[in-house]
């Protein structure tokens, strides 16, 4: 059976598809979050070096992953919007930015909370921390550039340029712990090596990442729907929709 993917690249049909998907992802987010937090707080053993404070990784690591990954996804959608002039992909990119910025902030914040008992300081000018801070600035720059331009199409394209230019920062963050041997510890999980942490800890962390994924998808879909309504308010289908609700 061939699915006509292009059907959903129209904002109108995507609006209804997103409406059906949001409850699914929201429920999944809540479930995974509950399971992940339960494992994180009650099942996972106390770390022999770091004591109880290590438990912040259950939110810190997924947030840091999401912050980088969402930037790349945002840049990809923005780039597709720029290259093929597809409206919906640019709208999705715009919708991703605030969630990405939120996760970046969360990663920095939980990192500071974790750094205080572990390193004895809230903040160090270490390569990983600095590049993550730059990522936050890039998200803010993307959002403020889009907010400053009134014409939505120009805002999409200008935002896409800055998102694509800023993508060079993502590998810098990713490899920063390898390139600069500073305070931040190396990667705890990698695809090529067997994990260096207890299985329950790893399970908890991965389930929490899935929860963050589901949350991000749900929120981004909700925001995309809002953007679609705002931009398509002159079209007849939005008019009918409002008429039906009234």
């Amino acid at each position: 059976m061939a699915i006509n993917w292009f059907k959903y690249s129209s904002p109108a049909s995507f609006y209804f598809l997103a409406g059906k998907m949001i409850p699914l992802f929201s429920v999944a987010a809540v479930l995974f979050c509950a399971v992940g937090l339960y494992i994180g707080f009650f099942v996972a053993p106390t770390d022999f070096q770091q004591g109880e404070a290590y438990r912040i990784i259950f939110i810190h690591v997924p947030a840091a992953w999401m912050s980088m990954f969402l930037y790349v996804v945002m840049a990809v959608w923005a780039g597709i919007g720029l290259a093929f002039n597809t409206r919906l992909s640019s709208m999705v990119a715009t919708a991703i930015a605030p969630t990405g910025a939120m996760f970046t902030f969360l990663a920095l914040w939980t990192g500071a909370l974790w750094g205080k008992p572990m390193w004895g300081t809230w903040w160090v000018w270490d390569a990983r921390l600095t590049s993550e801070l730059i990522l936050l600035f890039l998200y803010i720059g993307f959002m403020s550039l889009q907010a400053a331009i009134d014409d939505p199409r120009r805002a999409d394209k200008a935002g896409a340029m800055i998102a694509l230019v800023g993508v060079v920062n993502v590998p810098i963050i990713y490899f920063s712990v390898k390139w600069w041997n500073t305070l931040h510890q190396g990667a705890s999980v990698s695809l090529t090596q067997s994990p260096k942490m207890a299985t329950t800890m790893l399970t908890g962390m991965l389930i929490m990442s899935i929860a963050c994924w589901m949350y991000a998808i749900a929120v981004i879909l909700i925001r995309t729907r809002a953007i679609i309504l705002e931009r398509e308010r002159h079209t007849s289908w939005v008019g009918e929709l409002q008429g039906a609700e009234r």
């Binding site: 730059i134 890039l138 403020s144 550039l145 400053a148 200008a158 340029m161 800055i162 230019v165 810098i172």
Partner: protein, 219 residues
């Protein structure tokens, strides 16, 4: 054509000499304010010098970014450039070169004098000048992207700093790092090579990105 654009922008800059001098004086004043703010202790000033000079150079170079395209945008010249059969990237490269000659080169020439104020030894002064010589063109080239994207926007000046400063940070780290490394006896070659790599990469990529951004802003 590339040199014609540079020549033209230089001529325009010379006609309005005060703009050029503002940037330079801003640089000198910011650098000179630091000893007043943190105290005139020489050993501290020596360790601060590379960072202070570099941050001031970043800010000074950013200060004049708004002018790179805006006056040409207002009088319609930029539109003609976009429409002309010449490669827009090449024209942008010419404009960036002019921007660097007007704002970057005076900073490079002024830096040793300011370094003496901060009691930097001779070889550190040399490395500082070299790092600025390699780094300031990168600032002009990256800045051109931000200037093109914010063309004609209200509050464009503040926005440009938000867009461009995060991209300037690597240049700052390795520029100031070069001086620190040479002062620590490690040799500045690695840092300067990286700055050179930034310069080459930005010469290739930034004019092209700027040209695309200009087309977006002009349509």
């Amino acid at each position: 054509m590339f040199f014609r654009i540079t020549q033209r922008d230089l001529l325009l800059a010379m006609r309005r000499r005060s703009d050029v001098l503002t940037t330079l004086f801003f640089f000198v004043i910011v650098v000179s304010l630091f000893p007043l703010g943190v105290g005139p202790e020489m050993s501290m000033l020596r360790t601060m010098a590379p960072g202070v000079v570099w941050v001031a150079a970043l800010l000074a170079s950013m200060l004049s970014l708004g002018r790179m395209f805006s006056s040409d945008h207002v009088d319609g010249t930029l539109e003609q450039m976009v429409l002309s059969p010449q490669s827009l990237s090449l024209l942008v490269l010419g404009k960036a070169l002019a921007h660097w000659l007007v704002t970057g080169v005076p900073l490079v020439l002024m830096a040793p004098v300011l370094g003496i104020q901060y009691d930097l030894p001779g070889d550190s002064l040399l490395v500082l000048t070299a790092s600025l010589l390699l780094g300031t063109p990168v600032l002009s080239l990256i800045g051109a992207i931000g200037a093109a994207l914010t063309l004609g926007l209200r509050g464009g000046g503040v926005l440009v700093s938000l867009l461009v400063l995060p991209l300037y940070i690597p240049v700052l780290i390795f520029g100031a790092g070069a001086v620190e490394a040479s002062a620590a006896g490690l040799g500045a070659a690695a840092h300067l090579s990286l700055l050179g790599a930034f310069l080459l990469a930005s010469v290739v990529l930034a004019p092209w990105t700027t040209a695309l951004s200009l087309r977006i802003s002009m349509e």
